[in-house]
Structures are given as C-alpha cells and as structure tokens.
C-alpha cells in the first residue's frame, strides 16, 4: 500500500425520521478523541467523516460537525427514508470508494484515495447487518460489538499474514470486544496480507460499536467542517424491497417510571423457578420493575412457560447489550458484576447486592452488600417489608 491510498475515518450515522440515534454521537465522540491523538502523533491531517443517509435530513449535518465531525457526507433521498439493506449497502460502498468525495473532504492525496482507513458502524439492529454487507462488498475485515479502540503501530508475526516473519503494521486499529461472559476481552485486528503467496490489502479496518459505551463530546457551535451533499447512483434493481407498513411499538417493560429495579443473574441456578418467584414477590413489595443479566437471556434454565415468556426476554436485559437504567434503588440478585452489566446500571442512585460470594465483582459496584444465599435472604426481606406495611396501615 502507498501513503494516501487509505485515509480518514468514516463513521456511519443512524437516524430515525430525522432524529439521530444516541449511538451516532457516541461513535463520533470516540472518533474525535482517537483522531485528535492520531493526527498529533503522526503530524497528519486525516479527517473524521460522518456519513449520513436518509430523507429530509439536511438539518442534521451541522449538528454532526458540532459533535466532532470534520466533514459530513449527506445523502438525502426519499428512497433512503428507511433503512433497506441493499440500497444502503450500495450507497455507503459507493461513498467509501469515491475519489471525488474524498477530494472534497481534503485535497491532500485525494487523487490516490482508494478507501477509508477505518470505518465505524453501530452494533445495533441496523448497523450490525449494514456493516456486514458493506464490508462484504468492500471485501475487508469487520469486528463486531467493540467497546474499546486503540490505534498503534504493531509488530506482527503470523503464518498467513506475514509468512512467519515479524513485520510492523503501522496505524493499526486494535478493536477490543468483550466476550459473552463479560470476563474476556478479545482484540481483533484487520491486517493486509503481506505474505507474498496471498498478498492483498484489507482496508478499511472496520468495526461495529456497542451503543451506550462511549461518550459524545460536548457540542461546540463554533466548530467548522465541510458538508458534502452526495448524489449516489441508485439503480432500480437495488430497490426491490417495498415498505408496506411501519409501526412503532413500545416495550411493556418499563424501567423508567419505577423508582426501583430488581435484577437477577446466573445466581438463581440452584432453584431457578422458585427463585424467580421469590424475586417477583420482592419486586412486588418494592413496586419495582424486573431486569435480567445478559447470560440469563440465553435461556440457561428450563422454566415454566409463564415465567420464561415473561422474564427471559431481551427487553429485560440490563447492560451494554440491553438497556441502561438509573433508578433510585437497584437490587442486584445473584449477579456477578461483569463489566457489561455494570455499564447498564452504574448510574443508579443506591445499589444493593445479594450474593453469597463476597469476592464477586458486584461488591465494588454496590453500596450495600448482603452476604447470603438469595433463598434465605429474600424471604426475610419480603417478611420485613410486609411487616412494616402493616405497621403503617394500622
């Protein structure tokens, strides 16, 4: 690869009917922080480019610059009002390969531009699939569900990538991905093949980013940036999917209007059915909504259909792959305290943990740690709460 072939960081925004999804500004914030360091370190001037597709979205571009973009590529068309995978993939891929657009972003090296150096998508219902198909079209590497990013020069010795020799890969994006347990971090790299028998470039280095992980930067109305109104080639054959109807639905799980949330995790394992019933009673006494940890949503236990369909659902998951909550009281029952879960509840006002293991991570994340088996502790709590209610009523 030659200097100038791969430049800039393209961040794919998501919006719904003209309103940005929170993850869009979170990704821009992290892109800004990474590239401020990157440009300083390399005395370069590469750009954070927000790419936004939709209909009647012209207003949004200015906001994206205030939140950290150096340039915005905006595509406004009635055909792009709703995300349809084929046409969105084609348009984003066109943009990512477009020398003219790159020239409008920055003249330097623009004649050589082949692809962005890096690309970010959101790891949600839309971005997960879109990132997959865009990177299949661009034939490069993609890591999913990332919650930490670092750019470094890395020495690699790899049978396939380097033919077993040590080689330095400059400006490599280290993409950190927490595994399903929440205890392990896997770092994924997208690397060109420099082994002569299978030599080829793999750019952009791309990933999808977990919503709710990164903070947006503070908006600055004085920030300057370029807005590029992009006109893509749209072919009839890419518009085969017809939208017949679209209906907004709101979850029956209501974490926002309850003062308290009671959550449970793998610790229910000794008698799942009975323990969930106990937790249900406790939640009832506290007028609390019920949440679950991510592992629970994987249907680890055989439960009666009534409990299973009510509680073991993704709507109840609290954490990076679910909802973020901030009640006045959060009761974590049998939850070990994996980072993914903590990210979803750390803003709670007062946190109580019920756990038999005093070494579990949740102890660092709670105000009150009740050491004991939930089978023993919860009935006592329920009895006390009921007793007090009677006192008040009498």
């Amino acid at each position: 690869m030659t200097e100038g072939d791969y430049r800039h960081l393209y961040v794919i925004m998501e919006q719904e009917e003209g309103e940005l999804l929170p993850v869009s500004l979170e990704m821009l914030g992290e892109a800004r922080r990474l590239f401020d360091d990157f440009n300083k370190k390399h005395s370069s001037n590469e750009k954070v480019v927000a790419v936004i597709l939709g209909y009647k979205i012209k207003e949004i571009s200015k906001k994206l610059i205030e939140y950290g973009a150096d340039a915005v590529i905006s595509v406004d068309s009635p055909e792009l009002r709703y995300v349809r995978n084929t046409i969105y993939t084609k348009v984003i891929s066109q943009i990512a390969s477009d020398k003219e657009a790159a020239k409008k972003i920055d003249e330097e090296y623009a004649g050589q531009f082949k692809r962005p150096r890096y690309m970010f998508f959101a790891a949600d219902s839309i971005g997960r699939h879109l990132s997959s198909t865009v990177l299949a079209e661009l034939e490069s590497g993609l890591a999913s569900d990332i919650n930490k990013l670092v750019i470094e020069d890395i020495e690699i010795t790899h049978q396939n990538k380097t033919g077993g020799k040590p080689l330095t890969y400059e400006k490599t994006l280290e993409m950190y991905r927490p595994d399903f347990s929440g205890f392990l971090w896997t770092t994924i790299l997208c690397l060109d093949n420099r082994n002569s028998s299978i030599e080829r470039d793999y750019h952009p280095q791309a990933c999808s980013i977990i919503p709710g992980v990164f903070a947006p930067i503070e908006a600055d109305s004085k920030r300057k940036g370029k807005i590029i109104e992009y006109v893509p080639t749209i072919e009839e054959q890419d518009l085969k999917v017809k939208m017949l109807s679209r209906k907004v639905i709101r979850s029956k799980v209501d974490f926002d209007s309850h003062k308290a949330i009671v959550s449970f995790g793998r610790g229910i394992k000794d008698s799942p059915e009975q323990n969930i019933k106990l937790i249900e009673q406790l939640a009832n006494e506290l007028d609390a909504e019920i949440g679950i940890s991510l592992p629970i949503s994987k249907k680890l236990f055989s439960l009666s259909p009534a409990l299973d369909s009510k509680y073991i659902i993704s709507d109840r998951v609290i954490g990076t792959s679910g909802r973020k909550v901030s009640p006045m009281l959060y009761v974590a029952i049998g939850i070990s305290g994996a980072m993914q879960h903590i990210a979803g509840m750390k803003e709670s006002e007062f946190v109580v943990a019920i756990n038999s293991d005093e070494n579990s991570l949740i102890k660092n994340e709670c105000d009150l740690f009740i050491k004991g088996r939930m089978e023993d502790v919860i009935p006592v709590l329920i009895a006390e709460l009921q007793k007090q209610k009677q006192v008040i009523q009498s």
Partner: protein, 291 residues
C-alpha cells in the same frame, strides 16, 4: 413449483445449566462444555419447517465444522424434516473469520439441489455472537438480505415474500416493519420468531412431517453429504485463515475496574442487619440517601 429452502446452522457450546461448565474465573470451560445445535439455529430450522408445512418446501441444511458437527445437522433435520444435509469440513476451513466463512457457505449453498428461494440463518451464534456471517453470505450470494424477521408468508404465484421485521432502535422505541420482496431472499430470523399454524390442514401436515422428520433423523447419514475444499471448488486463498482479513491478536481478562462504590457488607442471616437493610432501602426509595 417447489419452494427450495436452505438453512445454515452451527454446532455451538450448550449454555444450558448442567451442560455448560465455567472456569473459576468466570470464563467458559470449552473442554468440559457439551456441544449442541445452537439456539438461534434451532429457531432458523423452526422457521424453515413452517414453509415445509405450509408450502411443502424442500429443505436443505448446511453447516461448516469438524466431523462432529454432523450431530447438529441431525438435530436440525429432526426439527424441519430436511431432504438434504451438507457438512463442509476441511482442515483449511479452520480459523475463518466471518468473511471467509461467508465465502465458503456461499459455495455450499450453490452445491445444494435446486435453485434456492429462501436461505435461513440464525440471528447470531451463541459463542461467536457477531451476527455477521448471515448477511455476508447473503451479499456474496446476491440475495436480498432481510434481518430480524419475526414472521413471513410466501406468495408462490408471484414469487414474492412478505415479512415482518422487528427493529430495535436502542435509545428509542422499537419498530415493526412489514416489507415485500421478490424471491430469492436471505433471512436472519429474529430470536422472538414463533411459527403459528391456524388451520386444521396445516396442523395435520405438521404432525405428518414431524413424524417423517423423526424417522429421517434416525437415518440421517442417508441424507448426509460431506464436502472438502476441493469438492466444494472453493479458492483456498479465500477460505479459512488465508481468506480472513481479521485475526485475533490477543485474549485477556478484562481488568477489574477500580471500586466505584464502597460497599457496606451485611450478614444476610442476621435479623438486626436485615432490619437496617430495610430502612436503607426505604431511604433510597424516598430519595433521601445519605452516603
């Protein structure tokens, strides 16, 4: 005409209690954990079976994996009464990332009998969890990709499909979209999919095919074909490690964050302690926390 359906499945660690084993540090103990047909693959097979019952579809199932992965094919066949089982197995397939896996699965689907009208995959694997392989395979096949599908009906006459998709807009509301698309399509089925059979003829067909599926699964080897790289005709530079743009650079324990709160530890078996707990809970609920 017959509706041709393919399902892509995966053998995964069995996360159910009693089968899963964790190391003391909380990570999965792969050596001790049993394997099974992945839960999302199970839903994909169920969704395909709906087409068998309703439209008399012919079903083929494919998977990439070591020889033991044929047990997942057998399990899936029992769920959907498949006519054809494919195992793509070769040492050079190992270590593939999603792009290289998609390249191989595309080749596999093209070896199935008949031109596919619908390909089903699960939403994501429960171990890898990327959710990328389905859409990437769809793109390589040139099939319209429909993700998060919770319901579908095929119009055989017009060769079209109507599908409902559940889109979760994190930080917003959820949306149910109803779309129509010409076949062929590639569907990643949503975890909340449920097949519903409303009329008697469908329920009878359901019984009949289920019985047939059980018999077939008992003799699944009769339906099984195993393909290596040469038999699939894939370019060895495009599959396995050689065809993967990404590598796993390192795996580490996520470092313990510094304690964000100072926990007061109380003894759950001490009645006096527990009365104090109640008082604290009520303070918290009334917004009068004193830390």
């Amino acid at each position: 005409m017959t509706l041709n359906i393919a399902i892509l499945i995966k053998l995964e660690p069995d996360f159910s209690e009693g089968n899963v084993s964790y190391n003391t540090d909380g990570t999965l103990n792969r050596a001790e954990t049993k394997n099974t047909l992945g839960p999302h693959s199970t839903i994909a097979a169920t969704a395909a079976f709906y087409s068998k019952v309703k439209y008399g579809a012919k079903i083929s199932i494919g998977t990439m994996g070591p020889p033991v992965a044929e047990s997942a094919l057998q399990q899936a066949q029992q769920l959907c009464d498949a006519d054809e089982l494919h195992l793509y197995s070769d040492r050079i397939f190992a270590g593939a990332d999603t792009l290289a896996t998609a390249e191989l699965l595309k080749a596999g689907i093209q070896k199935m009998q008949g031109k596919m009208d619908i390909v089903f995959s699960g939403h994501r694997a429960s171990d890898g969890e990327t959710g990328q392989t389905g859409p990437q395979t769809a793109w390589k096949l040139g099939f319209t990709f429909l993700g998060n599908v919770v319901d579908y009906e095929v119009n055989l006459q017009n060769q079209t499909i109507r599908a409902k998709r559940l889109i979760r807009l994190q930080g917003f509301y959820d949306v149910i979209e109803e779309i129509e698309a010409p076949l062929p399509v590639f569907i990643a089925i949503d975890p909340s999919y449920k097949a519903v059979f409303n009329n008697i003829s469908h329920r009878l067909a359901y019984e009949k095919y289920q019985k047939e599926a059980r018999l077939r699964a008992q003799n699944y080897k009769q339906y099984l074909k195993v393909f290596n790289a040469a038999e699939l005709g894939v370019d060895s530079k495009k599959v396995g490690l050689a065809g993967s743009p990404t590598i796993v650079y390192k795996v580490e324990r996520i470092p313990k964050g510094k304690a964000n709160r100072q926990a007061e530890v109380v003894d759950g078996s001490n009645a006096e302690h527990m009365r104090k707990v109640i008082a604290r809970l009520q303070e918290a609920m009334s917004g009068m926390v004193i830390k």
